[in-house]
């Protein structure tokens, strides 16, 4: 088993001042999709493209496609289910992730 310090991301001497993030927008490097235990699945038959899922997604992991549907990016979706909860048409179902 590796020692604890072998798991460290960097030397303490390299830690940025106050642990600040000096590079704006770098959270995209942090792939939060593997936190997910439930995945949102969209039923395009029911979807009215209102964009509530896009607005309410805390990540934000929803993007609009060429047809105007809002599609979740599973690289970042944590599976919180807010999109399914706010969808006025019940078009989003949370489906368990099979590991």
């Amino acid at each position: 088993m590796p020692k604890g310090k072998d798991t460290a991301l960097m030397s303490w001497k390299e830690v940025p001042f106050g642990c600040y993030i000096l590079e704006p927008g770098n959270s995209v490097k942090f792939k939060t999709g593997d936190w997910r235990s439930f995945r949102p699945v969209l039923d395009k038959e029911k979807c009215i493209k209102c964009g509530q899922c896009y607005i309410m997604c805390p990540e934000p992991a929803y993007e609009q496609d060429e047809e105007g549907y809002y599609i979740v990016n599973l690289t970042y979706c944590k599976g919180c289910g807010i999109c399914a909860s706010v969808c006025p048409k019940g078009a989003i179902t949370m489906v368990i992730e099979e590991v």
Partner: protein, 391 residues
């Protein structure tokens, strides 16, 4: 040089804060700190001080507002006491870890229960590990001088840590003492404008306060600790510079009649003046008693302290706070630990005195020094002892 004028210490502290040209004050009134922020609010309302005065609903909000304000590069001040300081607790850790140099004056007061508005050090001892620079003033002049020093050190780019100046509630905060406020030009010379290393600015966005996963938290804390220990040198240099400009000399540890002392009293804060009288009396009676006063509590001035007590046989530490079930008062525990590795170290006896506004008299100090002599011959039964308790 300014004139020496009789002033209430709280008012003088507020005037000093004004001279430091603060941009933001966020505070919630609590006895015995109230006069400081009350006077500052008057100065702002009268247009004598060009600052934002944020009235908040609690001390938790006060320190949170201060944290945010410093993060934008504004010089920021707050003040509190006792329960108010306790309510700030969680944000105090964040302020230091995020390297945000808020300056706060704490008018030290006992913590409830029983409810007490009076002076002891229970409030600040509960904040020992928050990572702020902490100093203790002995008198009104020192209280004022430590405010200029706190801003100068905290905002120094090599430091960037928040600082607390402790003044004893009532026994300092509400006393009228002759105090010399320096000329504004001198303060400006001593305290340059605040130029932080980083600040929140929409033109150059950064994030402050992200999560620290197990793979980085330890390294982040190590970096914080090293930076905090390094602040010591800046603290000393800032006192050297203070002496050059204002003519008053401050050191992290002060000694009084310590030459050839066998027994030394050790104390922080305003009670040292009473202890000095006790030392004088005992010296007249032929007892070799001296006094050590710690001014800089965090970062702890280990070497200065060890040097100050060299040759002493028994150190009587007088704590103004109780740590129930511990092996001594908070200062005594610190000092015992500091001395453990020192060859020929003095023995340490821990006294708890002056809780919740109980007077500690010259006679009490004489009693403690006599007990210290006695304990040289006979080991104390308990690891700490409360002084001035009615049986």
């Amino acid at each position: 040089m300014g004139k020496r004028i009789a002033k209430e210490v709280s008012i003088a502290v507020a005037e000093a804060v004004k001279q430091c040209r603060v941009d933001v004050i966020a505070a919630y009134p609590i006895t015995p700190q109230t006069h400081i922020v009350e006077h500052l609010s008057e100065l702002v309302a009268n247009g004598e001080l060009d600052a934002e005065y944020i009235t908040v609903e609690s001390e938790h909000s006060a320190i949170s507002a201060c944290l945010g304000s410093v993060a934008t590069g504004a010089r920021t001040f707050t003040s509190t006491s006792a329960q108010g300081l306790a309510l700030m607790h969680e944000i105090l850790f964040i302020t230091s870890a995020l390297r945000l140099p808020v300056v706060m004056v704490v008018a030290n007061r006992a913590l409830s229960a029983p409810i007490s508005i009076w002076n002891d050090h229970a409030d600040i001892m509960a904040q020992r590990d928050v990572g702020w620079i902490q100093t203790f003033a002995e008198n009104g002049q020192e209280a004022v001088d430590l405010v200029y020093h706190a801003f100068r050190v905290a905002e120094d780019r090599r430091v960037m840590f928040p600082a607390i100046v402790n003044i004893d509630g009532f026994t300092l905060s509400h006393m009228i003492e002759p105090i010399e406020l320096p000329d504004q030009e001198q303060v400006d010379q001593y305290l340059p404008p605040f130029k932080p290393r980083y600040k929140l600015d929409p033109r150059k966005p950064i994030s402050i306060g992200p999560v620290g996963i197990p793979e980085i938290y330890t390294e982040a804390k190590k970096a914080q600790d090293e930076a905090f220990k390094n602040a010591y040198r800046v603290i000393i240099k800032a006192w050297d510079e203070f002496e050059k400009i204002f003519g008053r000399r401050y050191r992290p540890v002060e000694t009084y009649r310590m030459e050839d002392a066998e027994v030394a009293l050790l104390i922080m804060g305003s009670l040292a003046e009473t202890a000095m009288t006790a030392v004088d009396r005992m010296r007249e009676a032929g007892k070799k008693v001296g006094l050590v006063r710690i001014r800089l509590w965090r970062p702890f001035p280990l070497r200065d302290f060890v040097r100050a007590v060299k040759g002493v046989k028994m150190l009587a530490v007088v704590d103004r706070a109780l740590s129930p079930g511990a092996t001594g008062g908070p200062v005594a525990v610190e000092v015992r630990s500091a001395l453990y590795q020192v060859p020929g170290r003095p023995r340490v006896v821990s006294f708890i005195a002056g809780l919740g506004g109980r007077d500690v008299t010259v006679e009490d100090f004489e009693e403690m020094a006599d007990k210290a002599y006695f304990y040289l011959k006979k080991k104390p039964k308990e690891s700490y002892e409360m002084i001035g308790v009615k049986e």
